[in-house]
Symmetry: C2
DNA sequence: TAAATATTGACAGTAAACTGTCGAAAATGG
DNA sequence: CCATTTTCGACAGTTTACTGTCAATATTTA
């Protein structure tokens, strides 16, 4: 059997996604390093910040597309570091909410101030139309596997 | 400071890249599991298969955008499993070539036969134009960070 | 050509993802 | 409303990345 034209492009895109994902993780670690954070912790902070309601560990995992266990590890470490606290969840005896502390909110604010000029600068040579297309294709791919 | 329109789209695309990358890794593990392989090993086989010349561990790492050390681990394990062998490199005393065995080539062929219909099927609802745009944007992003 | 620099494999340690299993708690469906 | 199924946290173990350092080897430069 042979790849269709689209199957071939799809395959090449996947290889590029793996590569870029790795590069961006390195870049994220670099941006957050001086704050004692990392790409992974940044994502957890972001998930909590973006949500209007408090989230449990399992909910954060679902938002981020990870396993409960991975997020649990990060959360335990971040609580230990004072970035977040566990809070009683009246709707569930065991599944506590994870809530950002002032320290956690402050850390996220600082990272955001670093990320914004970084994103603006790095996106300047890509057209808005192409960015929109890319985002929509990525979302379409994501839906295929959830 | 605020995100430009493009900065915002760029940021959303990055979050989606992380998510899709994770999903595709799971998918790759699923496709290769019955062959006793994994996404990571598949990538190593692919890098060797695609190259016309024999490659050293460090060269494979560069092609894949990983560290020498990660690939070294995979390579040692795959040599142990008979998928590849180390071969003397006349141009470098320490940096041996990594070469696929018949078993390694056969494994890659089987995976390819599985991957082709998978890619053809999963790309069928995305237009060729959009796939091309996505691939070119991803490559542009990759170039920013290498 | 000699010295400085870069690359490589080896080794040790860490981070962040995964899998699987368990019992408790919650949600669902007869 | 009770039994079944699903979700959740906890625990243990694995894989695949990373970092850093060392000595040996290659390459570049003065």
């Amino acid at each position: 059997m042979q790849h269709t034209k689209k199957g071939q492009l799809f395959t090449e895109a996947i290889l590029e996604i793996f590569k870029v994902s790795g590069q961006l993780a390195v870049e994220g670690d670099r941006l957050t390093k001086e704050l004692g954070l990392s790409s992974a912790r940044w994502k957890v902070l972001g998930a909590l910040k973006m949500s209007n309601e408090p989230l449990t560990v399992a909910q954060v995992a679902r938002v981020m597309g990870l396993t409960r266990q991975s997020v649990q590890r990060l959360a335990d470490a971040m609580v230990k570091d004072g970035l977040m606290v566990y809070q009683i969840n009246p709707h569930h005896k065991r599944a506590n909410y994870v809530v950002l502390t002032e320290k956690g909110k402050a850390a996220y604010s600082i990272i955001t101030e670093i990320q914004i000029p970084w994103a603006n600068e790095n996106s300047k040579d890509i057209s808005e139309v192409d960015l929109n297309t890319t985002l929509s294709v990525l979302r379409k791919i994501s839906l295929l596997f959830k």
